[in-house]
Amino acid sequence: MLRSFSMFMFLLAVWLLLSGHYDMLIVGFGLLSCLGVVLIARRMDIVDREGHPIHLTWRAPLYWLWLGWEIAKSNWAVIKVILGPRNRLQPQVIRATASQETDVGLVTFANSITLTPGTVSVLVNRDWIDVHALTQETADGLMIGDMNQRVCQMEGTGAKRKGD
């Protein structure tokens, strides 16, 4: 119930920010449509830890800040490869360990890999992700496992390294 209420407030906040019309009738329609969406979502049984992950509200932005810096660094690395000589290209497929316990965590890890240019998730599995890396440098960066552990911290399970 708390989760449904939180979802309603989130939807309402987004509605108010997107609308820009604040007379009674229009806001009333907004309230009704947010309520309708929450009711439908409850009926579909998707108002859960995965559909509305409020437990990530504070940890996720911290992770995104770190990810933003990683994106900036890897953008620079890929730009150097694009503009550099052809033999700088060292494409390879590597298998990164994924120690996340939740689906949200695993998807976040896979998406983060793709978001940092120089590494793209190709095959995602329960315990590992096959990653296409552009250069040795970007491959090594991922194999250290820093991103893996940070996603684990974000999903709140801590880094349990499998296979170590």
């Binding site: 730009i79 290209l89 060292q90 896979a110 240019p117």
Partner: protein, 123 residues
């Protein structure tokens, strides 16, 4: 106040120009790289660096208004949808049977590969 507006104006154009430049570089890489997988990395520069810088520049242009909130939401959604689309593309390419060309370390390139980049296609 006047001076702050000037700084914001030039900062926003610097961001827009940088974002545009990244898009051009990404497009250049898209043409230059040999196959789908490597080209996806060049496309990654466009939809992270290029898109984020352009959106940040536009946010400075619109200032503290609802438009900025909308641009922030666009940025937010873009960061979720573009890697998902990228994964669909990569996975689809893999499922279609295309395997990436892989680099053999330069110190092991004496095994008679005629390919100058030392790349093999095991697909």
């Amino acid at each position: 106040m006047e001076i702050v507006n000037h700084i914001l104006f030039y900062a926003s154009w610097a961001l827009l120009a940088a974002g545009g430049l990244l898009c051009v570089i990404g497009a250049f890489g898209l043409v230059r790289f040999p196959e789908t997988y490597t080209r996806m990395h060049a496309a990654g520069v466009i939809d992270t660096g290029g898109a984020l810088l352009i959106l940040a520049g536009l946010m400075l242009q619109s200032g503290l208004t609802l438009e900025t909130v909308k641009l922030a939401l666009i940025m937010f959604f873009l960061l979720f949808t573009s890697p998902t689309a990228g994964y669909a593309l990569a996975r689809g390419t893999w499922s279609a049977g295309h395997r990436p060309i892989t680099h053999t370390r330069s110190d092991a390139r004496t095994d008679g590969h005629s390919d100058s980049a030392g790349m093999t296609d095991d697909g």
